[in-house]
């Protein structure tokens, strides 16, 4: 059985390789993945390296040359039919 990644258990996947598409149902949470340049990870994969309400110094320390950074934040506003961003 495949475990589903949710907002409640996403922290348990820290430092593990996850599929980016598996995070698409987690809203209003910053998830920063790293894909080292010398890794053989696919375009839909990364190492989950930070989970939090806001990016911070800890998450920014991951932004280094030699890593591809994958910043993910799914905004729950996008789920609302009567709310949208003007621009």
């Amino acid at each position: 059985m495949t475990n589903t990644i949710t907002a409640n258990n996403v922290s348990a996947y820290l430092n593990k390789v996850v599929k980016i598409s598996d995070l698409s149902s987690i809203y209003d949470l910053w998830m920063i993945l790293i894909r080292p340049n010398d890794s053989d990870l696919s375009d839909d994969e990364g190492i989950l390296s930070f989970v939090g309400d806001e990016p911070n110094e800890e998450s920014f320390s991951l932004y280094q040359k030699g890593n591809a950074v994958i910043p993910i934040y799914n905004d729950s506003i996008e789920l609302e039919s009567d709310m949208y961003y003007e621009e």
Binding site: I32, L33, D43, F60, Y63, K65, V69, I70, P71, Y73
Partner: protein
């Protein structure tokens, strides 16, 4: 790069959204959510959408403010009041960029990819304060051969390819979706 052209289907919010990859500040960002916006003149990268913390963004902004070689521009939002716009215009003309959230800074973005298709380098504006969407505007879109249409399935599709990289696969897709063929002129 894994695609030789851009193919996007309009989503339920009537948007063309996709993922981009780009290098900025020497960092490679991938799977960045962006919106294609033909009503936007200038592509603007929001550091907030790259997961750069506010404190670090303000440090980067300060560096840009002090660097006279970096171009600056003001962009107003639809909800900015007339008073705010007037105040911002005066502050901008006086070079008081740091306190203005509506100032963007011109940077070169390297190895830009949209929907897996290589675009190349592009001059874009970077904003360190705003939240919202990263908009790919007409400054970039106008460098593409672009077609938008509705298919028999009811889906609306955007098919595009950077003009300098137009290729046989893209032509095949144009014919498949829009029944368009390139015209070959002799003589």
């Amino acid at each position: 790069m894994k695609n030789s052209y851009i193919k996007l289907f309009m989503n339920q919010h009537n948007e063309f959204r996709t993922e981009a990859a780009l290098s900025l500040f020497g960092i490679r960002f991938t799977n960045v959510n962006v919106k294609i916006d033909t009503g936007c003149g200038a592509t603007t990268i929001l550091t907030s959408k790259l997961g750069i913390p506010k404190t670090e963004a303000q440090k980067l902004k300060r560096q840009d403010c002090l660097d006279h070689s970096i171009g600056k521009a003001v962009s107003f939002g639809v909800n900015d009041s007339k008073q705010f716009r007037e105040m911002a215009k005066v502050a901008f003309r006086m070079g008081q960029f740091e306190n203005l959230p509506c100032v963007s800074f011109v940077h070169e973005m390297d190895d830009f990819e949209i929907a897996g298709a290589f675009i190349g380098n592009a001059e874009v504006k970077v904003n360190y304060d705003r939240t919202g969407n990263i908009l790919i505007g007409m400054d970039v879109i106008s460098t593409w051969d672009t077609h938008i249409g509705t298919l028999s399935t009811g889906e609306t599709i955007l098919l595009a390819c950077p003009k300098k990289y137009v290729n046989a696969e893209y032509y095949k897709e144009l014919e498949r979706f829009f029944r368009l063929r390139p015209v070959i002129k002799f003589g």
